[in-house]
């Protein structure tokens, strides 16, 4: 089921919007990405397209198809393409997953076809290993040791001084 493919991981870098509610042709399109790199060939790089008709009251035709392609920006020829699978519970929601074998900038393109006509959106995302913390976070990780160390060190000094007095 698609739900299992949609990550629930609150402790994983969350998917983020790349394009939000952009009107292209007869569609309103959003593109979300969770471009995680992996070394073991797992398809951890996930891309979602949410596509709805631009005209209110019109339902998305059943023949609407979404193709998602990615490529390293420095190698356009290494493009890979997948048909994004529709969510069984929400057909406007489409998902495609790719194995991304190295970090760096990737181009991403979503091509929509169907009886409402064609539409294309394109953008660039940064793929990285999900487990890589930002260097700045080292300060955050160290902060608890500094603060708790301060409290207990001050306690130690104060008690020692009190005892000597």
């Amino acid at each position: 089921m698609l739900v299992t493919a949609a990550p629930l991981f609150a402790h994983n870098g969350p998917p983020f919007p790349v394009v939000t509610d952009r009107v292209v042709g007869n569609y309103v399109i959003s593109l979300w990405a969770d471009p995680d790199a992996s070394d073991d060939g797992d398809k951890d790089g996930r891309f979602w397209v949410v596509v709805n008709p631009a005209t209110k009251g019109v339902t998305l035709p059943a023949d609407t198809a979404v193709q998602i392609a990615i490529w390293p920006v420095e190698r356009r020829d290494a493009i890979r393409s997948e048909t994004a699978a529709a969510d069984q519970r929400e057909p406007a929601r489409r998902l495609a997953a790719f194995a991304i074998d190295h970090e760096g900038k990737y181009g991403v393109k979503a091509t929509i076809t169907g009886s409402l006509g064609p539409a294309v959106i394109e953008s660039v995302v940064d793929a990285e290993y999900d487990a890589r913390p930002r260097p700045l976070l080292i300060a955050v990780f160290a902060l608890p040791f500094v603060l708790i160390g301060f409290v207990y060190l001050k306690l130690l000094v104060r008690r020692r001084a009190h005892k000597l007095a």
């Binding site: 739900v3 949609a6 990550p7 629930l8 983020f16 397209v49 949410v50 487990a131 409290v151 104060r158």
Partner: protein, 200 residues
């Protein structure tokens, strides 16, 4: 409430909850801090493995993940820690009998409760398939404003800050505090301090 009872009865007659909020509050708090720091140490170690030791990111899994690699990708581990935090904050709260220390500890507990509420919302979305704000994936409330926030780190940081402020006021209470603490945490009542607890 527990502390008030703890003052009047010998230690062996106290319940576990009364003990850890009375004569053993200092010890319980220290053990809790060991758990808290062990968790932060894992994150710090992982960053050191990547940036100082130059390990490949997939190999940098902290200490637990070094020996049990599956743990690092397990959501259960992170959630278990969140649960330990919630239980610890809840169980040790009665021992914070002052105004300021109780207030800050309660703020920390409140944020941790909200953290769990966020987990619940994510679970509900995953189960029902209806995602908030028209998003394509289960979304937490905080991600509505900050889409790329890393929830685990965010919540653990904002829970930790008021918790350590509470500890500071608990160990170094203001002179204006009128409630006499029943534990030995305060600097002038400590293990090496003068007042000894009644032990029956």
């Amino acid at each position: 409430m527990y502390a008030a009872h703890a003052d009047a009865r010998p230690v062996h007659e106290l319940t576990l909850l009364e003990r850890i909020n009375g004569p053993q509050h200092e010890l319980a708090l220290r053990l809790f801090m060991v758990v808290v720091l062990a968790h932060w140490a894992e994150h710090l170690l992982q960053a050191i493995q990547i940036y100082a030791l130059g390990w490949p990111v997939p190999e940098a899994r902290g200490l637990l993940g070094y020996f049990y690699p599956w743990l690092i990708t397990s959501e259960v581990l992170h959630y278990a820690y969140a649960l330990v935090m919630l239980i610890g904050l809840l169980l040790l709260r009665p021992g914070f009998t002052g105004t300021l220390d109780r207030r800050w500890w309660t703020i920390s507990l409140g944020i941790q409760c909200f953290h769990h509420f966020e987990h619940l919302l994510l679970q509900i979305q995953a189960i029902t398939g209806h995602y908030f704000f028209g998003r394509p994936v289960p979304t937490s409330l905080i991600q509505y404003w900050v889409p790329r926030v890393e929830l685990h780190l965010f919540y653990n940081t904002i829970v930790f800050i008021p918790m350590v402020i509470a500890m500071y006021y608990h160990v170094f209470p203001r002179a204006t505090e009128t409630v006499r603490p029943q534990c030995t945490c305060a600097w002038d009542r400590g293990m090496s301090g003068t007042p000894k607890l009644q032990v029956g």
